[in-house]
Symmetry: C2
Subunit: 331 residues, 2 copies
C-alpha cells in the first residue's frame, strides 16, 4: 500500500477523487482500510476522519439467507431494478468463513452477472480478517467509504454462519431474510433468532410449480411473525414472495423498503437506530481492543486455558477462576 | 455478617450443617454470598470452593412469563406437585428491577401460599445487586448452595425485563416459557428471542371458557416452533396447556421435563450444556471484573461520556474513538 497517498495525490487529492465517485480510488480506499499494517491503519484513520461528514446518506440493507436460497440471483435482479431507477448501488459482503477459504462468498464476480457490468453498481468481494469483529469493522468502514463516493443503496450480504447475521443487523437500517418455500414441517429450520431480526422476509423462487407453495409459506411466515412484538422501531415485518428468474415481485420489495424508510423517518426511529448502532460499535471496539491487548500475551492465554480445564473438571468455581485471572492481569 | 463462621462453628462445621440440609444455614450461606463486603466475599469463596464437590446434582429449571400470566400460581402448584413425589424443591428468582425496588418479585412470601409452608420447599427472595451481572453471579452461587443442601429441583424464576431471560437461560438446564391464551393477533407479543430459547412452552389458565382458546394457542405455538431449528441439544420444544386453578396439566409438564432430561442425558448434551455454561460464566466474570476495575475511575467514565457525545454528533468515528480510549487506559 506504499503508493496510496502519492506525492501527487496526498490525502486531500485522494479524498476529492473519492467524493467524485472514482471507483478505482474507492477500491483502493477499502483495501487501505483492510490492511493489517500499522502505518496503513494510521492513514486509514486519517482518511476516514476526513470523509466522515460525507457519510450516512445511504440506505443500508442487510440481506441473509441459507445457501441455495438464491441470494446471488436475487441481489443481481434487485440491484438491477435499483440501478434502473438511476440509483447507485454497492454490494458488500460479510462471510466469516472467508477467513479460511479466502473469500468464498463474492470471490466470483460472475455470481452477479448483470449487476457486475452495471456502471451504477460497485461490487466488492468480502473483507478478510482474523475475526468476525475485525471483518465487521472493515465492512462498517467500507459502508462509509461507499457513502462518501455517492452510493445511495448499500447492500451488505451475509451467508448464515455463526454470529454473522447479528453483526450485519448491527450495521444496517433494514434487514431482509430470504427463505425458500416448503410445506409444513418441510420448511427448512431457520437459525435461532434470525427471523426475529428481520424487517422483511422474502420467499424466493416463487415461480412455476413452486408459486403456490410460496404463497402458502408467505401466509405461514406472516402468521408466525405476528407472534412477535414489533421491533423497537415500531415496524411490523412483512412477508413477500418473488421470482428473480421471472423478475416478479422485485419492485414490491423495494416499495416495502421505501415504506419502512418513510415509516421510521416519520417516527424518528431511523436516526435513533443509527445512533444506537454507532454507540454499540464504539463499545464493541473498546472491548475487542482491550481483549486483544490483554490476552495476546501467551503467558495469559496459557493460564486461561489451564483454568478452563480446572473448571471443566469441577475443581474450581468459574467466578473464582475469573478472580484469579484478574489478579494476574492487574499485577 | 460477623457471626457466620463463629468460634464454635468454623467453616467445616458450617459446611457440614449445610450438607445436612439445615435451611437456616442455607439461608445464611446465601446471604453471605450476597454480601458486598470484601471480607465476606473471601469467606464466601472459601465456602463455595468447599461445597463444590457436592453440587451439580439437581435439575435446574428456568421459568419466565409476562406479568399476569400466573407465574406465582403456576410455581406454587408445580412445586407442590414435585414435593408430593417427595422431591426437595427450591425457588430462586432473578428480577433486575429489584435493584431499585428492593425485591418486587419474591418479596411477598404469600405469593406461593402452599409451597412456602411445605417443609420440602425452600423459597428465597430475589438476590439484589447493582447490575444484572452481579445478580446473576449471586443466583448461580445460590443454585450451588441449594444443591449442596440436597435440593433436587431448583426453579429459577424471572420476570421478563431486559436481558434477564438470557441470563437465566445461561444457568438452567430446562427453560420454560409461560404464555396466556389469546386468539390470532390478540396473542400478546412475545419478547424477541424468548420463544427461541424455550425448551417448553405452557399455555396457562386453560380452564373454563378459556380452555378452547388455550388449545388453539397450543396448536399455533407448536406450529410456530416448528419453523425453528432444534436447539443445540437436539431437543424439539413442546407446547402444553395447564390450569393451576383446576390442577390440570401440571403432571404432564413434569413428565415433559423428565423426557427432556432423559433425552439430553442419552445424547450427552445435558453435561455438554452445563460445561458450556460454566465456561461462559468464567469468561463473563473476567469481562465484568475487567470492566469494573477499568471503568470505575471517574476520569475514564467522563472521557467515555464525552466520546459518546462526539460520536452522536458525527464528529468522530466510533472505532477511532475506541482507539483513543484504549490509549488512555493503557497509559
Amino acid at each position: 500500500m506504499k503508493h496510496v497517498f502519492k506525492q501527487k495525490s496526498p490525502l486531500k487529492q485522494f479524498v476529492s477523487e473519492l467524493l467524485s465517485g472514482n471507483t478505482v480510488t474507492l477500491a483502493r480506499a477499502i483495501t487501505l482500510c483492510e490492511s493489517q499494517k500499522t502505518a496503513d491503519r494510521k492513514k486509514a484513520n486519517d482518511l476516514l476522519q476526513e470523509i466522515l461528514p460525507h457519510t450516512g446518506r445511504s440506505l443500508r440493507i442487510g440481506i441473509t439467507g441459507s445457501p441455495g436460497v438464491g441470494k446471488s440471483t436475487f441481489i443481481d435482479a434487485f440491484g438491477k431494478s435499483l440501478t434502473s431507477f438511476g440509483k447507485k448501488v454497492s454490494v458488500l459482503a460479510i462471510d466469516p468463513s472467508s477467513a479460511k477459504t479466502k473469500g468464498s462468498i463474492l470471490g466470483d464476480r460472475t455470481r452477479m452477472e448483470e449487476l457486475s457490468k452495471d456502471p451504477l453498481a460497485f461490487i466488492r468481494p468480502t473483507a478478510t480478517g482474523n475475526s468476525l469483529g475485525g471483518v465487521a469493522d472493515k465492512t462498517r468502514e467500507a459502508i462509509l467509504l461507499c457513502e462518501a463516493a455517492g452510493y445511495e443503496i448499500i447492500i451488505v450480504e451475509t451467508v448464515g454462519v455463526g454470529q454473522s447475521e447479528t453483526t450485519v443487523r448491527g450495521m444496517v437500517d433494514f434487514f431482509l431474510l430470504l427463505q425458500l418455500a416448503g410445506a409444513g414441517d418441510e420448511l427448512q429450520g431457520i437459525k435461532k433468532g434470525i427471523m426475529e431480526m428481520a424487517d422483511g422476509l422474502v420467499i424466493t423462487k416463487a415461480d412455476g410449480e413452486n408459486e403456490k407453495r410460496a404463497r402458502q409459506a408467505q401466509t405461514e411466515f406472516q402468521h408466525a411473525l405476528h407472534l412477535f412484538q414489533p421491533s423497537e422501531l415500531g415496524w411490523t415485518p412483512k412477508v413477500l414472495t418473488c421470482s428473480a428468474l421471472e423478475k416478479k415481485g422485485i419492485d414490491e420489495i423495494w416499495k416495502l423498503i421505501e415504506a419502512f424508510h418513510s415509516f421510521t423517518t416519520k417516527n424518528k426511529s431511523f436516526q435513533k437506530n443509527r445512533d444506537r448502532q454507532n454507540l454499540s460499535w464504539f463499545h464493541e471496539s473498546i472491548d475487542s481492543l482491550l481483549k486483544r491487548n490483554i490476552f495476546q500475551s501467551s503467558k495469559h492465554s496459557t493460564k486461561i486455558k489451564s483454568m478452563e480445564k480446572k473448571i471443566s473438571s469441577g475443581k474450581i468455581m468459574p467466578s473464582l477462576a475469573a478472580y484469579e485471572i484478574l489478579k494476574m492481569l492487574l499485577k
